[in-house]
């Protein structure tokens, strides 16, 4: 679209300009129509347009909902330990992710990568880590190092690198070139340019992504319990297996409360890093 608009030959006649402008509008409408068509086909393929199936499913959800009510907080004392475990897992996993993403981000950013090969390899590494679901990573690490929080942290951390590293790289690529040039002009080495010209610029975005990922990892670590990686997720899966729905809803509410607290905390930290 950019190139089409700027590369116009000189139009001298108002009608020509308006015709060209309408052509651009029609193209935009066509693009919207194509996207809408793809969305509608996807909805149809996945059964989202199957009204009868959706409406017949509603009562089942209603029954499950009533079985979940009222939530049973009777065992809350047993959940404190796992909650602390989940919190620890999310923090350790995010720390691991950030530690690995810092170097990888700079290697995977076009403007700071030493050369094309390292740039491409870093991108492939990030894509690979992102494409292996954390649940699969959890299973692999449980098999490797046994049950507990350690496999959870490794799985959360490594899977997070795929996204955190990619976002870091993108923030670095969008860093303003002018201050970087000023740093270079002072005779700084390329490492100094990264540390003093790039990092101060992108720090708020790095903090943003890291804090968001911490919140995400807290939620994801509840799922890690399913594969035996400890935390509140183990409690959730336990209650589900016993079909103890009042207890399931109670655990879900506790998780919701914790996610809210983590979200508020990460917002506060983010505001500090501006």
């Amino acid at each position: 679209m950019t190139r089409l608009l700027t590369a116009q030959p000189a139009l001298t006649n108002a009608e020509d300009v308006l015709a060209e402008d309408s052509k651009g509008r029609r193209k935009l409408l066509l693009q919207i129509a194509v996207v809408a068509a793809i969305v509608i086909v996807s909805l149809w393929m996945t059964g989202m347009l199957d009204r009868s199936r959706l409406t017949s499913g509603l009562p089942a959800i209603g029954i499950l909902g009533t079985e979940m009510f009222p939530p049973d907080f009777g065992r809350w004392r047993d959940w404190v330990g796992p909650l602390v475990e989940t919190l620890a897992m999310s923090i350790a996993g995010t720390a691991l992710a950030v530690a690995l993403s810092l170097p990888l981000g700079f290697l995977a950013a076009r403007n700071t990568s030493p050369n094309k090969v390292i740039y491409q390899v870093s991108r492939v590494v990030l894509n690979t880590l992102r494409s292996i679901p954390e649940l699969i990573m959890g299973i692999i690490f449980v098999a490797a190092v046994g049950f507990g929080m350690l496999p959870g942290v490794l799985a959360l951390g490594l899977h997070s690198v795929g996204m955190v590293g990619k976002f870091f790289a993108e923030a670095i690529e969008h860093a303003h070139p002018a201050p970087i040039e000023a740093t270079e002009a002072s005779g700084a080495t390329s490492m100094q340019v990264i540390l003093h010209g790039v990092l101060p610029q992108v720090f708020p975005q790095f903090a943003d992504v890291s804090m968001y990922r911490w919140e995400y990892n807290f939620r994801a670590s509840t799922v890690m319990g399913m594969v035996g990686a400890g935390g509140i997720g183990t409690e959730l899966v336990g209650s589900l297996r016993l079909l103890d729905y009042p207890q399931v809803s109670a655990v879900l509410l506790v998780i919701l409360a914790c996610v809210t607290v983590v979200d508020i905390l990460s917002n506060m930290l983010r505001a500090k890093f501006r």
């Binding site: 950019t2 608009l5 700027t6 116009q8 000189a10 139009l11 001298t12 108002a14 300009v17 308006l18 060209e20 402008d21 651009g24 509008r25």
Partner: protein, 223 residues
């Protein structure tokens, strides 16, 4: 006022921008109120919208959408005359012609389909003026329109503003930092200092005594 260029002069923080923004209620006055030439006080949101429709604003930082073409940016001026639905459906042929005419008045007809972020600062400001013209306003407010432009572009922008004022009989109120531009283009100068009017008269009456009232001690005029 009719067909008159009024320049607001004053040091940074004197209240030039605040005054301009208050005239179109982008800033709410903390005391007092704005009365239109029809003697109307602006109470409801509807009143304010109709007042803004007749009052075009030109901003220091152009305030254009960079990824849209100059023509599309200029057409935004017509939003006040459309409902939400009709503005989505598109602008009329007459409006598009008016927009193109405004662009050719500021010498940018050939840039009508160019994205605004690939135009120079001076060109962007002229798109801003074309947008103001397309609004068919009864009053034009310009908030430091040349503060970020080079002298040649500044001259061009000020000339266009003065010509519009003279030819279309639209009063223009413009805040400026540059004394020489104020003297060259103003019919009337209003000097502000700390939110007070300390001078009001033709450029010829702007002597050193008046300048020191506006800017304080003469040594301060350099910054």
């Amino acid at each position: 006022m009719d067909g008159e260029v009024t320049v607001l002069l004053g040091p940074s923080g004197a209240g030039k921008s605040t005054l301009l923004r208050t005239l179109n209620l982008l800033t709410q006055p903390s005391a007092g109120h704005i009365v239109t030439s029809a003697g109307q006080q602006l109470k409801s949101r509807r009143d304010i919208r109709f007042h803004r429709r007749d009052t075009a604003m030109i901003f220091q930082q152009h305030q254009l959408i960079g990824r849209l073409s100059a023509l599309r940016n200029v057409l935004m001026a017509r939003l006040g005359r459309h409902s939400v639905w009709s503005s989505l459906a598109g602008f009329s042929r007459a409006e598009k012609h008016l927009a193109l005419e405004s662009l050719s008045r500021v010498g940018l007809f050939d840039k009508a389909l160019t994205r605004c972020d690939s135009l120079s600062g001076g060109q962007q400001q002229r798109v801003g003026i074309a947008r103001a013209l397309t609004q068919e306003p009864k009053l034009i407010l310009a908030d430091e329109p040349i503060a970020s432009l080079d002298p040649a572009s500044s001259d061009r922008v000020m000339k266009i503003l003065r010509d519009v004022c003279r030819e279309d009989r639209i009063p223009v109120i413009v805040s400026l930092h540059q004394l020489d531009f104020a003297k060259a283009y103003a019919d009337r100068i209003i000097g502000l200092c700390d939110g007070d009017i300390v001078f009001d008269g033709p450029p010829s009456a702007l002597d050193n005594a008046a300048l020191s009232r506006i800017y304080g001690a003469p040594a301060d005029t350099t910054n």
